[in-house]
Symmetry: C2
Subunit: 152 residues, 2 copies
DNA sequence: TGAATTTAAATCGCGCACGATATAATGACA
DNA sequence: TGTCATTATATCGTGCGCGATTTAAATTCA
C-alpha cells in the first residue's frame, strides 16, 4: 500500500461509508422543515412514497422494498395509522399478512408533498443528470453489498 | 416536466435520498459481523477512527467532524468509556470542555481493526478510483446541503 | 389427516440521533 | 467589577432500526 493510501485509512473523510453516513444525516436535516409541515418524519415520508407508488401493500412488501424489518415497520405504521394516514387490516385470504391502505387523508397528503422532491434536489446542488448517475452508482453498490451480506 | 420525470417522483428507487438511506443501512449490515468481533457498533467505530486520527479531542471537536450533537455523542462516549476504550476528563484550562483520550486498549484496538476498511471496500464491489469519485461527489453534496440548511 | 416446518407480524431490549432544555463555566462589555 | 450573553456538555423524550424471540397462520409431506 502506498503511503497516501495508508494515511487515507486514518482520515474519516476518506471513508466512503462515512460520506454515506453523514450525507444521510444531511438529508434528514434538510427534509425536516419540509416534512414537519406534513406531520411526517423522514422514514415515514419514504413509506408514504412507497404507498403512493403502490397502495394496499403488505408489511412484508414494504419491508422488502425499503430493506426494513417488521420490527421497524410495525411501530412506524402504527404511528401513521394513529395519524389517520393509513389503515392496517389483516388480509382475509392470509391472516398472517397485514395490508396497509391509504386513507383519504393519506392520499390527499400526496398533493401537499408534491413540491418536496424538487426542493430537495435543489438543495443538493446537483444537476439532474449527475443526481441520476450518483443514484445509479449508489443502488449498484448497495445491491452488491447486500449480495455479499446474504452469502455470509 | 416530462412524463418519465413525473413517474420518477413515484418511484422510491429513483429517489437519491432513498439510495443514500438504503446504502447506509447496507453498510451497517456488512460492518456488523466485523465490528462485533471488536465489540463496537458502527457509529462507535467511526468515533474510534476519528480518535485514532487525532487523540485527545473535545466532544465538540468530534461532533463537528462527525456532524453529531452532544446529545448523541455523550451517551456513546460513555459506552466507549465503560468498555475501557477511552477516558473522559474535564479540560482543566476550560472546565466546560471534556477531553476524550484513548486508553491503551483503545489504541491497541486499532491494530485489530486494520483489515476492516479493505474488507468493506471489497464488499462494495467498487474499484478504488470509482470509490474515490463517489466519495468526493457525496462529500460535495453533503456540504452543499448543509450550506442550505444553515441559511434556513 | 396430522405433525413439523415455514412464514408474517408483533414485541422487547438496546443503541443511535435529534430537538428542547438545563447547568455550569467562560467571555464580553458597560 | 458585575451583569448579560455565549459556549460546552449533559439530560430527557420521541422515533428509528436491528436482532432475538414470540405468536399465530399457512404450508409441507409423512
Amino acid at each position: 500500500m502506498t503511503k497516501a493510501a495508508k494515511e487515507d485509512l486514518l482520515n474519516l473523510e476518506k471513508f466512503l461509508c462515512f460520506s454515506i453516513y453523514s450525507a444521510g444525516h444531511a438529508f434528514n436535516r434538510v427534509y425536516k422543515p419540509l416534512l414537519d409541515k406534513l406531520g411526517l418524519t423522514y422514514p415515514q415520508y419514504l413509506v408514504m412514497v412507497a404507498l403512493w407508488q403502490e397502495d394496499n401493500q403488505s408489511v412484508r412488501s414494504i419491508g422488502a422494498k425499503m430493506y426494513l424489518e417488521s420490527s421497524t415497520l410495525t411501530p412506524l405504521l402504527k404511528r401513521l395509522e394513529a395519524n389517520g394516514l393509513v389503515t392496517r387490516t389483516r388480509d382475509p385470504s392470509d391472516e398472517r399478512s397485514v395490508r396497509i391502505t391509504l386513507t383519504e387523508a393519506g392520499k390527499t397528503l400526496r398533493d401537499q408533498a408534491e413540491e418536496v422532491p424538487a426542493c430537495i434536489l435543489e438543495a443538493t446542488g446537483l444537476d439532474v443528470e449527475t443526481a441520476k448517475r450518483l443514484n445509479r452508482d449508489l443502488r449498484t453498490m448497495r445491491d452488491q453489498i447486500d449480495a455479499v451480506v446474504r452469502e455470509l
